[in-house]
């Protein structure tokens, strides 16, 4: 079938195009709504391989290898819409399109809606892989295989984060043995061993944990307290297994447990995978490189029962090592599958494509089709000393080059870096109210949310307390989370109207001294509106706000600014995981200052690193259309040569003429 024939075949089904018109004629004669606002017919603009994929058989397993910027989402959207429009499935059976983030889900849903013009997707499922595994397998069927008999008639597992604080959740002690709490452990089906999750560094298998200094000192303490007993690794193993059994049978599970429970349900209940694969005979997995071992096994079970799998993704974009994702597993799994490759990058300009391809030493040729605005100047870097300067500097560049800030983005690896750039300092012993008022008075939306969180954390203490960050620490007696949030907002608004409270040129102690009576009257005034949602009708606010609790430390230290008043605050800062699938006109990728930082270092991790460390740099650098900026710490002469060897130009050293040329080109373009 030649390209035109393929276009025709798709258009006949997707656009209801009449047989005697070509796609081109259809477009110029104002055919379908879905082309409205587009410069070309959306079907004929596709490459041959893209069309081939749309027409591929939903009965044959397939791997669509799609490089960055290859229009993968558009193609998956079109494929799904095409299959839906083609129909011919039994009633109430549908296609499952599984993604990794809610954002990706929304994008695909949006594409499908453009192509197929429907509001409800039933009987098709378009959502994240986790929600699919949890909601269709683990939650409805898992209880039986973990001997959980439900609470109040509901057999749902409660998802417990591995990182919740056990000191604030004493109920977790019921599931603890050898100081290992069951919410931190999980079984790794691939390694066939239990692992203990760690907040810092990698999760450890049991034997390693057993040998660790931490565990040895725990045993030493235990022996001092209760007399000497020799504990073997087997004892620990048993403790971990029993703890996990109890944890699950009481209806608690962490994220890994949920996947394991689903896998177990599929293994033990043959009917389940049969029914599921009849319900979803065709499953498309987007970003397949992010599948963990057990997730692949779950999909494989469905494949064995008759579902067809289409894996779509780019193994070079796998960044879920913390979830124990190894893209090699995916590579091995798709080996027998039919393969279609999309090697045209429609996003980035030639320079960026060449650079990113070189970064991951990809032997395959990727052709760049993105707009080229800046030619050789598409790659620039600058050195920074102070995190506060980064946004400022980037903002200047964008201003000079007349690049829309709304369409640009700063990409960081982790939220800690994001908070650093936005000057949010999440220290444990911080002055919550001062920080809250600071962030509220000058912050952007993200910072204001933080402000609400801090204010909530502090004021909640005076109202009986709460541990739920998601509800802004809404105290248990207040029965409307919504009203609590409004209350916090009002208190903060009132605070910001008082000059005394937004004067941060004083010591912490002085601020609190002036704030105490003012804050008290604000809270009392605003509480009048909150009162009807308070189940504690006899609340003695006067006593609470005069008592011990309300007293603050008389710290003589002067207030440190949590926030600089900056013009760059408008540019969004996103994490790499959040940036997947996104396109920006320009991106700034921020390297950590330290080579050992988890936030990713330009040289040690991105250029000279390997595995995931490198892939992180790759993803971050493939988001931009025509300008990629790296912010790196102050460099040695040698490092400068290295980075420039990859084609980056130092923005500070670019001659004024070059800058001028750059501007010229921009204006020409505009």
């Amino acid at each position: 079938m030649n390209k035109e024939e393929m276009q025709n075949k798709i258009a006949l089904i997707l656009c209801n195009k009449s047989k005697d018109r070509s796609c081109k004629e259809c477009f110029y004669k104002g055919g379908k709504d879905l082309c409205n606002g587009h410069e070309a017919c959306r079907i004929s603009e596709k490459t041959e391989n893209q069309l081939k994929y749309v027409l591929s058989s939903p009965k044959e397993n397939l791997y669509l290898k799609a490089c960055a910027g290859s229009g993968k989402t558009e193609v998956v959207g079109m494929k799904t819409a095409y299959e839906i429009a083609k129909g011919s499935r039994p009633k109430n059976c549908g296609i499952a399109v599984l993604t990794f983030t809610n954002d990706a889900t929304d994008v695909i849903k949006d594409r499908i809606n453009q192509f197929s013009n429907r509001t409800s997707h039933y009987p098709h499922f378009i959502g994240t892989l986790s929600s699919f595994i949890h909601q269709y397998i683990g939650q409805p069927f898992g209880y039986k295989y973990r001997n959980f008999s439900g609470r109040n008639g509901d057999c749902s597992f409660m998802l417990i984060d591995k990182n919740i604080n056990p000191h604030k959740n004493h109920w977790l002690d019921n599931y603890k043995d050898f100081s290992i709490s069951a919410h931190k452990t999980y079984y790794d089906y691939e390694k066939k061993d239990f692992f203990i999750a760690s907040e810092y560094g990698e999760d450890k298998p049991q034997d390693e944990y057993f040998r660790s200094e931490r565990f040895k000192s725990f045993i030493k303490n235990l022996n001092n307290k209760c007399g000497y007993i020799k504990y073997t690794l087997e004892d620990v193993r048993k403790g971990v297994i029993d703890g996990k059994r109890k944890f699950n049978s009481h209806g608690f599970a962490n994220f890994e447990d949920m996947n394991n429970i689903a896998y177990k349900a599929l293994i033990n209940n043959g009917k389940l995978s049969d029914v599921l694969s009849r319900r979803f005979p065709f499953i498309i997995i987007d970003e397949c490189q992010d599948l963990s071992w057990v997730e692949i096994q779950i999909l494989n079970k469905l494949r064995e029962s008759g579902s067809t799998l289409h894996f779509v993704g780019d193994l070079n974009q796998s960044v879920y090592q913390f979830k124990k994702v190894d893209p090699d597993n995916t590579a091995k799994f798709v080996e027998p599958f039919k393969k279609i490759t999309l090697s045209d990058n429609f996003r980035s300009c030639r320079k960026i494509v060449e650079f990113s391809n070189r970064l991951i030493t990809n032997p395959e040729k990727i052709s760049a089709h993105g707009q080229d605005k800046f030619g050789d100047n598409a790659l620039v870097y600058f050195e920074y000393d102070n995190a506060i300067d980064v946004i400022h500097k980037y903002s200047d560049i964008l201003n000079k080059l007349k690049i829309n800030k709304d369409k640009s983005s700063i990409v960081v690896k982790q939220n800690t870096m994001k908070d650093m750039l936005l000057c949010i300092d999440d220290k444990k012993d911080m002055n919550l109210m001062i920080s809250a008022v600071q962030l509220w008075s000058k912050g952007n939306a993200y910072q204001k949310q933080k402000s609400l969180e801090y204010a909530g954390r502090q004021i909640s203490k005076w109202f009986g307390g709460s541990k739920n960050k998601g509800s802004y620490y809404c105290p248990k007696d207040i029965n409307s989370v919504f009203e609590w949030r409004i209350f916090l907002k009002n208190v903060l608004n009132d605070c910001c109207e008082k000059d005394e409270l937004i004067d941060f040129n004083q010591s912490n102690g002085e601020w609190h001294k002036t704030a105490r009576p003012i804050l008290k009257s604000i809270i009392k005034h605003r509480y009048d509106y909150l009162k009807i949602y308070d189940e504690l009708t006899e609340r003695n606010l006067e006593a609470t706000l005069s008592g011990q609790w309300f007293r603050a430390k008389n710290s003589p230290e002067s207030i440190t600014s949590t926030l600089e008043d900056k013009k760059g605050a408008k540019i969004q800062v996103i994490t790499i995981h959040g940036s997947k699938g996104c396109t920006y006109d320009s991106t700034l990728v921020v390297s950590s200052k330290s080579e050992r930082s988890d936030s990713g270092h330009w040289k040690v991790h991105w250029i000279e690193g390997e595995g995931e460390a490198k892939r992180v740099g790759y993803i971050a650098s493939t988001r931009a259309k025509y300008l990629l900026v790296w912010a790196v710490p102050t460099l040695s002469e040698e490092d400068r040569k290295l980075i420039e060897g990859y084609g980056f130009k130092n923005i500070d050293e670019m001659s004024t003429t070059t800058k001028y040329e750059l501007l010229e080109r921009t204006n020409e373009y505009a």
């Binding site: 039994p90 009633k91 109430n92 059976c93 409800s120 039933y122 009987p123 499922f125 929600s131 949890h134 909601q135 269709y136 939650q139 409805p140 069927f141 898992g142 209880y143 039986k144 295989y145 439900g150 008639g153 509901d154 057999c155 749902s156 597992f157 349900a265 209940n269 009917k271 389940l272 029914v275 599921l276 009849r278 319900r279």
Partner: protein
């Protein structure tokens, strides 16, 4: 698949979690008033989103409220369970399935309304709330509700919500036939508008006049244009305008003879309505993967008994033929209850907080008994299904007399049980006396308890007492005949006391197990039979009087009866004399001159008069003078009315 179980908690008149199990196919829900039949139907409508009901919001009245002063309102919880899903249904109802592939649907309503007074409904499927739930699955369930005392005419009339339009819509499966209909109507309308050959000049004229007046009064800027035609020419509006007319016999085709249903009888309009619904069932039944629930409340409304039977037989057949339909019928009609197999019956009682449902098909009744009960449960006897208590008796005499005895027994009981009084009569207590015409107690008690061994199956949840005769075997006496030889002769046994009265009645063997059960008790006359025991209980005077008044001939019988009456029921320790009088009475009741039935009826009248007389006295009422009710009968009455009986 079929709905196998319904749980209700906190809804309407049901406070505690109540389990109601259903049969495949047809379910006839019977029970006294306020037992919870409508609660069951409404729960099904609510959770299955019956077209008309689901749009109604939950109101305060839907929550269970006890009559206690400080009652706490609890959340409403309704759970539904389906069993025996086909492989296709497993796929369709996947998100409602638990790990054993039973489909489950749950509805919870929080007791606290939001600020606007709206109660939030929470719906989830399967075993866990966190699992996927596909709203669209509801499209695979068709819930049709037929209310009692419906205004059938209103619902059959053309219009948006008309059942007829729904049926017609289901009939049209493809676009071509829809277009054909639209075209025909459009062409006809067009011909009116075109007014070719001046066929419709009058209409044309009227239209013209109206349009002219619009123009005159509103002007060309604000004016509109009207057209006169038969309905708008869109598919749905054509359907809405199709009207049902009737002719009161089968087979008429002449369209001139049909009349508007407004002039039809209420009963027949109901039948037309039900027939429309059945036709709709037929139309949607052809669709795959569709489960139909038909809820009918009190179909006996407006229908005479023969029609009721015809209808219920049709429903039985419908439910039997189709796998994907389940029918729920509530009824107060003994006619309906007695015309289907007891396997279809679900009996409902309520203790004020919990609904107890008993599936008669699950009582472990063997086929013999089942066949017997099916035959036996005729219209009068099936009243037991609508009672709060029942007294089973052997014959017509007991059936007539026990209601009268009950007044005396209950009066005396209430004097001794201040604070725990029972109603003053059987009617008031809702207790029926059912004549089983013999001693086949074993079949009927199976509805209340296991008569062979103790088990844990829940049976009918109200009290039942049985009254039977002791019937001691005849005694052998040796008599000399004319020739002086000894001859063994069998003679009626008239025992003086219980010790000498070994009963020969086979039903007595059941007593031990029956009396261990929660709800059933069997009581037997301690001596011989009902009438003999009445007499032996020192009631000879009144019984004599009755026989004497029925006795037409004068002579020795009357004289003897007068003698008995003179005894004034006083025998002190002269048992032999009492027995002699009792035997005389017993033998003469059975004489052709009187007969058991007449005797019982006359005695009942007499007791009634005496009772009324005694009750009308202002002081010194003494009910005991009216009649001495034997203890076993008193016990049976008190048991059935829900009182406590003592062993002495």
């Amino acid at each position: 698949m079929y709905i196998s179980k319904l749980n209700i908690e906190g809804y309407k008149n049901c406070k505690n979690m109540s389990d109601i199990n259903f049969n495949k196919g047809l379910n006839i829900i019977v029970g006294e008033n306020a037992s919870g039949k409508t609660t069951i139907i409404n729960s099904l409508r609510l959770i299955l989103r019956d077209n008309e009901y689901s749009y109604m919001n939950i109101t305060e009245d839907d929550f269970y409220r006890s009559f206690e002063a400080e009652s706490k309102v609890e959340n409403i919880k309704i759970d539904l369970e389906w069993d025996e899903l086909s492989t296709d249904e497993e796929v369709t109802f996947l998100t409602w399935c638990d790990a054993d592939f039973k489909a489950k649907l749950h509805l919870e309503v929080d007791k606290n309304p939001n600020l606007r007074g709206y109660y939030k409904k929470n719906v989830w499927g399967g075993a866990s709330k966190a699992s996927a739930f596909e709203e669209e699955t509801f499209d695979c369930i068709d819930c049709i509700y037929l209310p009692p005392l419906r205004d059938a005419e209103e619902r059959l009339r053309n219009g948006k919500k008309s059942r007829l339009a729904m049926l017609l819509e289901h009939q049209y499966k493809n676009d071509e036939s829809k277009e054909l209909l639209v075209k025909e109507v459009r062409d006809f309308n067009q011909s009116i508008v075109d007014n070719k050959e001046d066929k419709f000049t009058e209409i044309e004229k009227a239209k013209h006049d109206i349009n002219q007046k619009i123009n005159d009064s509103m002007g060309t800027v604000f004016g509109q244009t009207i057209n006169l035609q038969f309905s708008e020419t869109s598919f749905m509006s054509i359907l809405k305008n199709i009207k049902m007319v009737f002719f009161p016999q089968i087979g008429e085709t002449d369209i001139h003879k049909f009349r508007d249903i407004a002039i039809n009888s209420l009963g027949y309009n109901n039948l037309l309505y039900i027939a429309t619904v059945f036709a709709e069932l037929e139309a949607i039944g052809r669709e795959k993967n569709l489960f139909t629930v038909l809820l009918i409340e009190e179909p006996e409304a407006h229908l005479h008994p023969q029609l009721q039977i015809k209808l219920i037989k049709y429903l039985e057949q419908l439910a039997g033929e189709k796998n994907n339909i389940q029918i729920f019928v509530t009824t107060h009609s003994p006619v309906l209850a007695s015309s289907v197999s007891i396997d279809n019956l679900i009996h409902i009682t309520n203790n004020g907080e919990t609904i107890f449902a008993t599936q008669l098909s699950k009582l472990n009744i063997n086929d013999d008994s089942k066949n017997y009960i099916n035959r036996w449960l005729d219209i009068t006897k099936s009243t037991l299904l609508f009672s709060k208590g029942v007294i089973l008796v052997e014959g017509v005499s007991e059936a007539m007399l026990i209601p009268e005895f009950a007044k005396i027994v209950l009066h005396m009981y209430n004097q001794d049980h201040a604070g725990k009084e029972l109603p003053t009569s059987l009617e008031e207590a809702g207790v029926s006396v059912v004549n089983i015409n013999g001693i086949n107690f074993k079949h009927f008690f199976k509805l209340f308890c296991n008569v062979d061994q103790v088990d844990s199956i829940r049976r009918l949840q109200f009290r039942c007492s049985g009254i039977t005769d002791n019937d001691p075997a005849k005694v052998e006496v040796i008599e000399q005949d004319k020739d002086g030889e000894d001859k063994v002769k069998k003679e009626e046994n008239y025992p003086l006391s219980e010790e000498k009265a070994d009963g020969a009645n086979t039903a007595l063997k059941l007593k031990k197990l029956i009396n261990k059960s929660t709800f059933a008790r069997l009581f037997s006359s301690p001596l011989k039979t009902f009438e003999y025991d009445l007499a032996m209980n020192k009631n000879t005077k009144i019984m004599s009087e009755v026989i004497r008044s029925a006795w037409s001939k004068t002579g020795s019988v009357k004289t003897r009866l007068e003698e008995i009456e003179k005894q004034e029921n006083r025998y002190s320790s002269d048992c032999i004399r009492l027995r002699k009088d009792s035997i005389f009475i017993y033998e003469h009741i059975e004489a052709t001159e009187v007969g058991k039935g007449i005797f019982a009826q006359m005695l009942a009248d007499k007791i009634q008069n005496l009772y009324n007389l005694e009750m009308s006295k202002d002081t010194d009422k003494d009910i005991t003078t009216v009649f001495n009710v034997p203890k076993y009968i008193a016990d049976a009455i008190i048991w059935a009315c829900g009182g406590e009986i003592t062993n002495e």
